[in-house]
């Protein structure tokens, strides 16, 4: 099988970027990734772009062609992938498979979302398009509402982890203080988080990820097609998995463990030939605090129902044995939906290269990204190894 690596990365600052357009964001992140790879842009053969909802929020579809045009990539083939919040991870997987098959040697993969220029109600309605329209949206559901129901069921099947969910939020914002690209770096107290007003029982706003503008790109290449310069900083993709599940929450076998993650993780671990305990750190999809806890169980880092204990014990903190979301995660680095999966890779590659500055982890040989779409209806897991 071909060895495939990420050879370049780039991202914008995440946040409420009032004066930045979709084009602007794509240009900055994409140009940074190409420059970081140190390749001529003429050698890039295809572009894949994760973009969830610019059709609704920006009046713009076919954003993959927009990106290729903005980056000056000529008439290469492009495609936009949409798998809700997993759109970025899905774009990476498509590029990975195309290179693995031998069709291409070098591709660029990005993600972009521009959200904060629209009023909250429009953003909420835009995000709600990723749930079942007839059964869920029309019943008055919101995404916080769906995941709040998941949290409540988790409390029933295992135990109440409201406090541990709060610690997830505190850790995320604290980690974000060391990430210059993060949207909401701040010290939060657990007392403040736990006393916040509810938006969807048992969630307050501190249990929810952010609304974010931003873009992230990576250059991915077959190692047999790159030069010695690129090889030096290349980070190898040692595992790739893609799982799916039903769209409607009522049709899921379990609400406290996600089949899509189990499938994606199983495939990625199998391909990499490693066990969960071989992973040094991970960026997991914390669209809500409970989701982070469930993800770390589904990924095999902790036993079912014990993810909260790991959080309480400091294991998932930056200086813990299994650091989770050292970037700040979706909760505090930000959640530019289509870009999130690629931004997770930006962090993992940065850590594996040893270039994370103040937030550099001591033990960073194998890192994992976990990107979840909708109410856990799609999942992408990728495992990376440094040199």
């Amino acid at each position: 099988m071909r060895s495939i690596s990420v050879i370049g990365i780039g991202e914008t600052k995440m946040g409420k970027l009032a004066n930045r357009s979709l084009r602007d964001l794509v240009k900055e992140a994409g140009s940074k990734a190409i420059a970081d790879a140190g390749i001529e842009k003429e050698t890039i053969q295809a572009l894949y772009l994760g973009n969830f909802n610019s059709s609704c929020l920006c009046g713009q579809s076919l954003t993959s062609a927009l990106a290729a045009e903005e980056l000056g990539l000529g008439s290469i083939p492009t495609v936009r992938t949409e798998a809700a919040c997993a759109s970025g991870g899905a774009a990476f997987r498509m590029a990975y498979l195309a290179i693995l098959s031998g069709v291409y040697d070098i591709a660029i993969v990005g993600g972009v979302e521009k959200m904060t220029h629209r009023e909250g109600a429009v953003v909420t309605a835009g995000i709600a398009t990723a749930m079942d329209y007839g059964a869920e949206t029309q019943a008055g559901m919101t995404f916080p509402g769906l995941f709040a129901m998941i949290a409540n069921r988790y409390f029933y099947e295992y135990r109440d982890v409201k406090k541990e969910m709060g610690i997830c939020a505190v850790n995320a914002h604290s980690n974000a203080m060391l990430n210059p690209d993060a949207q909401l770096p701040k010290e939060l107290t657990l007392e403040k988080v736990l006393s916040a007003e509810l938006i969807a029982y048992p969630f307050s706003q501190y249990d929810c990820s952010l609304v974010t503008d931003g873009a992230a790109f990576v250059v991915i290449a077959a190692e047999d097609a790159i030069g010695a310069e690129q090889r030096k900083r290349a980070v190898r993709v040692i595992g790739s998995g893609h799982g799916g599940d039903v769209l409607r929450l009522t049709e899921k076998g379990s609400l406290t463990s996600f089949l899509a993650t189990k499938k994606a993780a199983g495939d990625a671990y199998g391909m990499a030939g490693i066990r969960p305990q071989d992973v040094d750190f991970a960026e997991v999809h914390d669209c809500f605090t409970i989701t982070q806890i469930i993800n770390t169980e589904d990924l095999g880092f902790f036993a079912s129902g014990r993810g909260g204990d790991a959080v309480a014990g400091g294991i998932t903190a930056r200086d813990g044995k299994m650091p989770i979301n050292v970037s700040g995660g979706l909760k505090a680095k930000g959640h530019p939906i289509g870009a999130t999966g690629i931004s997770q890779m930006f962090e993992v590659v940065t850590q594996l290269r040893g270039e994370a500055g103040e937030r550099q982890l001591k033990q960073a040989d194998i890192g994992l990204t976990h990107n979840l779409g909708g109410a856990a209806a799609a999942c992408l897991v990728h495992i990376f190894q440094g040199r």
């Binding site: 109600a121 909420t124 309605a125 709600a128 059964a135 869920e136 949206t137 019943a139 008055g140 559901m141 919101t142 916080p144 509402g145 709040a148 129901m149 998941i150 409540n152 069921r153 029933y156 007003e197 509810l198 938006i199 969807a200 029982y201 048992p202 969630f203 409607r248 929450l249 009522t250 049709e251 609400l255």
Partner: protein, 72 residues
């Protein structure tokens, strides 16, 4: 759906467009003895009322061929 019980629920305080005047309201997944589940609004909620998973709810015909559920 006969013999429906609460499988899980949330109380929505921040309602989406079209539902603003109705908050807070309860959304629930209900389950019957055969394990069939439906998601929907649960009527009869008042602030401070106790809700528990496993609790039975009352289903009644709404006159348009659908069943509506409420807290007993």
């Amino acid at each position: 759906m006969e013999n429906a019980r609460i499988y899980t629920y949330s109380i929505i305080y921040a309602a989406p467009v079209g539902f603003e005047g109705e908050a807070p309201y309860v959304c629930a997944i209900l389950e019957n003895d055969e394990g069939k589940r439906v998601l929907g609004r649960l009527g009869g909620y008042r602030d401070g009322i106790g809700l528990t998973i496993g609790q039975a709810v009352i289903g009644s015909a709404n006159g348009q061929g659908d069943t509506v559920y409420s807290i007993g």
